[in-house]
Symmetry: D3
Subunit: 227 residues, 6 copies
């Protein structure tokens, strides 16, 4: 694990249908459906608002200030992938811009998740290529040290194994292990179905206190009302 | 103070007219009008730009990773309130999403100010329910420990007493003690009236140096011009 | 250097044509064209997205919580300038709002870069006066202590000499020393010309691995492919 | 509240015996004894390790970069007090050094808690005057703007009313409202008595799982052991 | 992976001799010996300076503000283990203090590595139980939600599988996968042997430029000396 | 300025006597003596407490994750120098450890100031080689890209020109331009002389309010006492 200098060409991608479908539920619902694990740290933010994507992870491990392996990763991208980039140390350099995005898009990538910096924000927005990053920085990088592609990486505090499903939107980025993709999509669909009804009742003025039968447990826990 | 496990049902809300009117001036002018006190820390940011609201505070004290009391708070909301949520420790979890927002809106709330995380950002934007928060996070919370509703809380560095006026916009969040609401609205209106004239003169090229008679005090303070 | 209490009236501004032209290339390309130096820290963010400006620097050194010198700086602004404000200590107060912006615009300023806070964000957006800052804060400032105008300052980690070219956009803020403005504009133009061709090839599916002849150096560096 | 420009000379200090006694239990035990409220943010750190003090709060509200009111506060110090300094905006300047410490000590102060910076760290350590601060900085401050002394302040996220008890040690800083000082000292003493017995049993190898009867509730909550 | 509510009783610990031996080399040398991977983020700091330990990891996944699973983890500790605690969200609460430390020590633990807060710092120092943490906080935690023990966790950006070797000292915390423990100990020993000779030559005034034959590659890279 | 790939061999060091003497006054007094400019950001901390040094700056500009130029800098060190290292982007890697320290000491360096990470903290403390850094990290660096030695650099927000005097202690790091070294030493000596008398009076219970004649200006500024 965390081998340096290797590229795994054949990775087992999660079930395609589930991987595509998970975007619809959004990262918050998916995160709940998984039992509240698998979330990247909230410092990961979209470079522009309004995107919601899901897809299978192609991972890349970079060195600080060096984006050489991004080009190696490009070749491993297939239609429906999302590239997940980890860095071996905290570094806010702009590892990714419009040229790489053009290449990634041509290869079928749906977006990038990077635990570092990104640049050409306006161009990426115009191209419709969403990126979730830790920073935005004009500073470019060099191409001097090899890392790895398609090894398990830790990105923004979450373990990402190549082929896992990534769900990213304005709320953040969630990782669904490939083996859990189908079950998570099912669970998320169920949550969503329930939410529609709850939303209607809450909109009609019903209180969560009553809808979720919370009054008794709250009283039991000692809650006191004072007039 | 800071009692745990209590809900105050009857709070003394600030003067309604002033509470409603203060939004018009914006947080910066209101902050000046109060003598530059009462501002929450600048890490409190709107989850989407362009909102400007004011209203009376319903406060809630939460525990890290636990939003149980949000449902208790919902019942205490009246038309024109803004919910202010403090957490007993720093925690970026997403304590609030579109379901709670539906409930809060149905009760008459104008927005939420929370010293923690928020989720369902896109839905909240679509619903037009503004939130000022410290973070955005997909991570949900549990319902296990009781806190309090409508006790004085410290939120993002500012003391908020239930019934105080909250003014929030793209510049930040300001707290106006209920007893100062009328006087602050008056002072803000006066500031604003003066600003229109100043703005016109500055736009015409008059310098602040001359408009504010700064040249003499600057020279007295020792400022030297070098050609 | 770093004299306090002085205003330099005559500064040598960079070549006008280059100073105006550099905006077109954006901060990332300009930063590359300079050899990857001169970038402000990535915590400097535009208060609203979508602006791209370049111009000559008028510098101002402020004290924490004190914006007195901003008015002194206003008088030194000429058409095509960008004001660069440094503070002698970290402080997120809102040193700048719509009144000062009105004055700066009337004097011909294209924008402000400040290593501190800014306020009246919505008004500034409506006026079309872009600001890059470290924070947004409603908190106003006093006018009590003199600093300096048009001395060399360190702003967000970058040295800015009065008259240098500032290039600012959604990716960040770059400083081009006045003496390098012409050469940098030339180098940036060359980079841009090359990029159009590269972009077309990458869009057509050509890999950076091949376009940049990276396969051999990668193999030499020890990269291994595993099926 | 948060009046500017006032000094309250007569404050009601907490019960002397309890105020003095609370140091013995330490901030963690006192915080538990209060029901886990009243803690300052953990960014407040001692400038040197190993101190443990308690005393009654004299509060001071300062402006960024301005320590004028520290001298006003000095006069209000009585034997057994701890000065608590809040700033109206985040600012890391060094508001306090060995000269002020000499004065504070001469007046009977036991230490300083400041939501800003401190300097002369080595001298303060040699003098044995403990300080809990947010930063250490050589940067001095001016004396230009008046704040207040002995008004309620928010310091590092905690509300401090003059006369409250402050307990500070290597674990952090806790505020005990004056009215709760006696009850808190009693509760803390009880906790401590219980802890001695627990410590002995745990040291002998008894597990918390058994000592606290956790096995059943854990199983009920669904915990599974896998061999 | 990341299952909630499970305790793995039988984990495969790394080779004992290597696990014990690695402390001797320190985290920096071990990190180099592994090829510069496996390091926790540098925000992980010892609560007191001067400790250097290595041992086998027992992992625990906690929820924010909840240390219930620490007691479950205690039972799984064997002589020579180091407990590694991850939290499902950022939270600086003090999850660990002198009572738990007494229990952990009695079970044979050598220290704790926690991506959260710790308290009773002075007691832990007196007991000689080292902790590496992200924060120090007096704030205690509740016991309400189950997590897991001995599942793979991400702690401070590093993946830790139960049984891996942890090396921690004043420089930080490194994770050595169990399968690599022996090889890493060998590589570290070799590095150390070489360093003694290098140190002697450098102390004698030999330059790294000459000792490492850097002058030619530097010249080739374009370095120019100017007199 | 900020040329890459150059080493200036002949720099004009500040007056030796003043450079040596400034340590005695400490960074806080020197900073005051200079008129409160020239301070590095307060995130720069000593890796162990208790050192106080001054000396002439040898500067080095590094790339993120690359310490190659440290070896080039070593050759330029003369007795009484302090090395000041800036990085072209934020990166917390450990660029410096005991081997380089051995070399630097052999060349006559008194310490290192680095806007990045450092490692081998315990060894450096044992050797008595003080370092002020932004982070501590076990992570080593590569030697791939050339930077520069003895060019002006911005380190932790302060401009450092080769030959300037650096004063560093537990309070922080101050830069004294070479041309101001003598005057600053004189001013600092005067300040110190005055402080001894002030300290004695304050220790005797005289208030700063009286010693500095503050009562009248405070009353003028509007300060009110309330009994």
């Amino acid at each position: 694990m965390f081998e340096l200098g290797v590229v795994y060409r054949n990775i087992k991608r999660a079930d395609r249908v589930s991987a595509d479908q998970l975007a619809r539920f959004g990262s918050a619902t998916v995160h709940e459906a998984m039992g509240r694990v698998g979330l990247m740290k909230p410092y990961m933010r979209p470079i522009y608002p309004g995107s919601r994507i899901s897809g299978t992870a192609v991972t890349v491990l970079l060195h600080p200030g060096d984006n050489w392996m991004m080009h190696v990763a490009a070749e491993q991208i297939r239609e429906g992938d999302i590239v997940v980039a980890a860095i071996t140390a905290d570094c806010t350099d702009g590892y990714f811009g419009d040229l790489l995005a053009t290449s990634f898009m041509a290869r079928g990538a749906r977006g990038l998740v990077i635990d570092g910096g990104c640049r050409d924000v306006k161009d990426l927005k115009d191209m419709g290529f969403p990126v979730w990053s830790k920073a935005v920085s004009s500073k470019g990088t060099i191409k001097a040290t090899i890392g790895s592609v398609n090894i398990p990486v830790v990105c923004a505090g979450a373990l990402v194994t190549p082929g896992d499903v990534i769900v990213a939107d304005d709320d953040g980025v969630v990782v669904v292990p490939a083996a859990m993709a189908v079950a998570t999509a099912d669970a998320a669909a169920k949550r969503e179905a329930l939410e529609a009804d709850k939303r209607a009742r809450l909109a009609a003025g019903v209180l969560g206190l009553d809808m979720y039968n919370m009054r008794e447990p709250l009283a039991k826990a000692g809650l006191k009302y004072i007039d």
